[in-house]
C-alpha cells in the first residue's frame, strides 16, 4: 500500500447552473500527494482550484469518484466521495484554512485554537494551551492571544487561521491563498511552519496559491490546474525549470 497523503480518484464535481442544471467543474480528475509532502495547485482564475480544495475538505459535493486521505497511516485511511460524506470525526483529521479566515468572532485568539482541542480532541486545558501557544509563537502571534479576533489585521487573522487549522494535529491540511495578506517575513514563517509540521507529523498539505515566490519556497511538487483538469504535475524544480511544458512557462511568465 502506498502511503498516499491524498489520493483523488476519478473525481467529478459540478456547480449549480441556471435552473436545475449542473455545470461540471471537474470530470475524472486524478491527483495523488505522497504523505510528508506539500503540493501546491496553481493555475488561472476560474480553473476550479478552490472547488477542488472544497471537495477534498468535504465542503463541496462529489458527484462521482472518491477522495482517500492518510492512506496507510496508523490511524487508518479517511475516505469520502460519491454517496459517502466526510464524517464529523474524520473532519477532525483534516485541517482547513481558507481565503476568508473565518475566525470565531465570539472567542479570543487563544480560544480559537484551544476550543477544538478541548471539545473535539479530548485534550486537557493545559495541553491545549501549550500546543496553541506553540503554534501562535511560530507565527509571532503570542502577544495577541488574549485579543478578540476582530482586533487583528487581515494578515494576522489569516495567520491565526493557519495556526488553528493545525490545532487538532491533522493528517491532511488544506490551504487556500493563505499568504495573500502577508509580508515577506511572515510568508517565510508560514513556509517554515508548514514544512516543519508536514515533516514532523508525516502529514500532507495541499495548497492553492497565486503567490509564486511562496510556491517556489514551500512546494515539494506543483500541479497546474487548467479548465478543470490537472494539465501538468511535476516536482518543484522541474515545474519552475527550463524543461517545463510551454503552457506552464507561459503561465509563469504571465504571473511575473
Amino acid at each position: 500500500m502506498n502511503p498516499w497523503g491524498i489520493d483523488i480518484a476519478s473525481m467529478s464535481a459540478s456547480h449549480a447552473g441556471a435552473g436545475r442544471q449542473r455545470v461540471p467543474v471537474f470530470q475524472d480528475l486524478r491527483l495523488r500527494v505522497p504523505a510528508g509532502q506539500v503540493m501546491v495547485i496553481v493555475g488561472p482564475s476560474g480553473a476550479g482550484k478552490t472547488t477542488l480544495l472544497n471537495c477534498v475538505a468535504g465542503l463541496h459535493p462529489i458527484d462521482a469518484g472518491y477522495v482517500a486521505m492518510a492512506v496507510g497511516s496508523a490511524r487508518g485511511a479517511i475516505e469520502h466521495g460519491q454517496g459517502k460524506a466526510l464524517s464529523a470525526l474524520d473532519r477532525r483529521r483534516v485541517g482547513v484554512a481558507f481565503q476568508q479566515s473565518n475566525l470565531w468572532s465570539h472567542m479570543s485568539v487563544l480560544e480559537n485554537l484551544t476550543h477544538p482541542q478541548v471539545h473535539l480532541g479530548g485534550a486537557s486545558r493545559a495541553q491545549a494551551r501549550e500546543w496553541a501557544e506553540h503554534l501562535l509563537e511560530r507565527l509571532v502571534l503570542l502577544d495577541h492571544r488574549n485579543k478578540n479576533t476582530q482586533a487583528l489585521s487581515g494578515g494576522q487573522k489569516q495567520r491565526v487561521a493557519i495556526a488553528r487549522s493545525l490545532c487538532l494535529r491533522p493528517d491532511v491540511v488544506l490551504f487556500d491563498e493563505i499568504t495573500a495578506n502577508q509580508d515577506p517575513v511572515n510568508v517565510q514563517r508560514v513556509v517554515e511552519l508548514m514544512q516543519a509540521y508536514v515533516r514532523d507529523h508525516q502529514a500532507c498539505a495541499l495548497t492553492v496559491s497565486h503567490d509564486m515566490a511562496f510556491v517556489r519556497r514551500v512546494a515539494d511538487s506543483v500541479a497546474f490546474l487548467e479548465a478543470g483538469a490537472i494539465a501538468v504535475q511535476a516536482d518543484r524544480d522541474t515545474f519552475f525549470g527550463p524543461q517545463a511544458p510551454e503552457r506552464v512557462r507561459d503561465f509563469l511568465a504571465s504571473t511575473q
Binding site: A88, L89, N102, H119, L120, L168
Partner: protein, 226 residues
C-alpha cells in the same frame, strides 16, 4: 416658587407602591415571555428564505401578523380586547387582558429582531466549525446559539424596556398598577406633585436594574463584527 414639598406623606404609602411595582413587574415579565415566544415562532417562519408551497401560507400569515401588529397602538389593542372580546363571548380579567395585549404588542418587534438575527448569522464561521469537525449539535451549542444571542439580545432589551413602560397603559382598564395606585394616593393626600414624581421614580427603579444587567451581558458577549 413657594411650593412646600412633602414627600414624607407619600413615603407612608411605600408598601402600597411596592405592591403595585411588583404587579407591574409581574405583568411585564409575563408579557415579555409571551411576546418573545410569539416572536420566536413568527420570526422563525419569516426568516425562511424562498418558502416552499407548503410553508408559504404560514409565511404569508406571519408577515400579515407582523405588519398588522406593528400598526396597531398598544392602547387601542388593550381597549379593544377589554371591551370587545366580552361581546364575542371571551371574558378575560383585566390582568390577563393586559398581559396578552402587551405580549402581542411586543411580538412583531421581537419577531423582526429574531428574523434579522437568523438572516445575519456568520455563515463562514459556522462553516469553519463544521470543517473543524464539530457535530451538528456541538455547532448549535457552541457557535450558532451564542452568535444568535449576540445578534438579538441588545436590540431585544430595548423592546423589553418599552414593554415595562407601556404596562402603565393597563391603568385604563383598571389594573391596579402604579398609575392607578398613584391616583388613589392622590385622592387621599392631595399631593399630586410628590405622588407623580414618585411614580416616575418607580419606573426608574424597575428599568435601571434590568438595564445594568443587560449592559453587563452585552459587555461580555457583544463585540463588533467586521
Amino acid at each position: 416658587m413657594d411650593y412646600a414639598f412633602d414627600f414624607a406623606r407619600v413615603w407612608e404609602y411605600r408598601w402600597v407602591f411596592g405592591r403595585s411595582i411588583l404587579l407591574t413587574v409581574e405583568i411585564s415579565l409575563l408579557s415579555i415571555m409571551l411576546g418573545t415566544a410569539i416572536g420566536v415562532l413568527v420570526g422563525g417562519i419569516r426568516a425562511i428564505d424562498k418558502p416552499s408551497a407548503w410553508v408559504w401560507p404560514l409565511w404569508a400569515l406571519s408577515t400579515f401578523y407582523v405588519y398588522l401588529q406593528l400598526a396597531i397602538p398598544a392602547l387601542v389593542l388593550l381597549v379593544w380586547m377589554y371591551y370587545c372580546l366580552p361581546l364575542l363571548g371571551i371574558g378575560l380579567s383585566s390582568y390577563w387582558t393586559a398581559v396578552i395585549a402587551l405580549g402581542i404588542n411586543l411580538s412583531p418587534f421581537a419577531a423582526e429582531i429574531f428574523r434579522s438575527s437568523l438572516r445575519n448569522m456568520p455563515r463562514g464561521e459556522l462553516q469553519a466549525a463544521r470543517a473543524m469537525g464539530y457535530t451538528e449539535w456541538q455547532t448549535l451549542v457552541h457557535f450558532t446559539l451564542p452568535q444568535f444571542l449576540r445578534n438579538s439580545v441588545p436590540p431585544l432589551m430595548g423592546q423589553y424596556y418599552t414593554t415595562v413602560k407601556m404596562s402603565s397603559l393597563a391603568s385604563v382598564i383598571g389594573v391596579f398598577e402604579i398609575i392607578n395606585t398613584a391616583q388613589e394616593v392622590i385622592n387621599s393626600t392631595y399631593k399630586t406633585l410628590e405622588v407623580y414624581t414618585a411614580v416616575a421614580l418607580c419606573y426608574a427603579l424597575i428599568v435601571i436594574p434590568f438595564a445594568l444587567l443587560a449592559k453587563r451581558y452585552e459587555d461580555r458577549v457583544f463585540v463588533e463584527r467586521t
